[in-house]
Amino acid sequence: MRNDSSFIELKARERARLLLDDGSFRELLDPFEGIVSPWLEAQGIVVQSDDGMVVAKGTINGGPAVVIAIEGAFQGGSMGEVSGAKMAAALELAAEDNRNGIPTQAVLCLETGGVRLQEANLGLAAIADIHAAIVDLRRYTPVIGVVAGTVGCFGGMSIAAALCSYLIVTREARLGLNGPQVIEQEAGIDEYDSRNRPFIWSMTGGEVRYQSGLVEALVGDGVNAVKQAVNDAIAKGVPAQHRTDNYAWYLERLSNFDTSKQADAEQIKQLFGEKRA
């Protein structure tokens, strides 16, 4: 029997609680405040009282911290006006804290399909705010992203993940700009069969993302394993160069990639793998 309990099985609130020091969890705009999406009910969709976003303040290793966790079970972890604003504002406040001499650390639990289609441009605008806030905050403290699964991280929020200083994934996680069904619909089933699960995970799963150097840590599904990886990332401090500052290196590889051949996991590793080695 393994001596670590599952992280993937946890809901967003429990994830946030466990990533913070024992007893330090304090939620901002908690469910009893009832700040829900004003758009879902009009479209016949049941709301959740925290709009699927948990913003928790507390401490990590005794230092001030904010953990922002998306609830993947509610509307696929989609980003609406309210949930997006909660994450953006929490990141902006953390940056403000850092400027005011309170070195607030930040951990994001990303389980999301990206923008909530029912809230369209408002969700997109919130995601843009989140991107800007991460870029602002990561100058002061490492912004650590955790994609544990089972939803994974897609759409505009995959860009938010890429902007993080460090990314932690499990084998169950997936990370990609477009979800499998979107690619299949656009490119055809011959190009990308969304129901072929081994194939999907071989292209966008946590393991191949780690082997390609697009994430820093691949961990087992355990609370302690994730906490250890978060601590390791905190210990590294702000990276000398963020992944997204190195865009020219990636762009050159993508430009020279032969798209006439069907892409597979081996090619992805060859394309980006030297970063890991």
């Binding site: 809901k11 469910p31 009893f32 016949g44 049941v46 709301v47 009282s49 079970a73 509610f74």
Partner: protein
């Protein structure tokens, strides 16, 4: 989607508030806030239409078999079966009983 409001006589008072569940497929979210007085009021938003009788029956049974605390309960249901619904409701009652 429909809204249902129910009310039952409470047989005890507790303090505090509690939350259980999420608005995910086959699950539901329950928020309970204890109040003084002798009534449990329940506001349900459910994705399942024509389910008022089922909710009425579920709570009637709970009232018969257990001791119901006074307070306000809000339920956001996303297709929870009566079994899951009952577990979520009992979770919040248990949590406030130990507060």
């Amino acid at each position: 989607m429909e809204h249902i409001t129910l009310s039952f006589p409470a047989t005890r008072t507790v303090s505090g508030k509690a939350l259980a569940g999420v608005v995910g497929s086959g699950d539901m979210e329950v928020l309970f806030t204890a109040t003084q007085g002798d009534t449990l009021t329940i506001a349900i938003t459910t994705s399942v239409d024509n389910s008022e009788q089922r909710w009425q029956a579920l709570f009637s049974r709970l009232v018969e078999l257990t001791s119901i605390p006074a307070g306000q309960m809000q339920i956001h249901d996303f297709g929870a079966t009566p079994g899951v619904a009952r577990i979520r409701i009992e979770q919040v009652f248990e949590e406030v009983s130990h507060a």
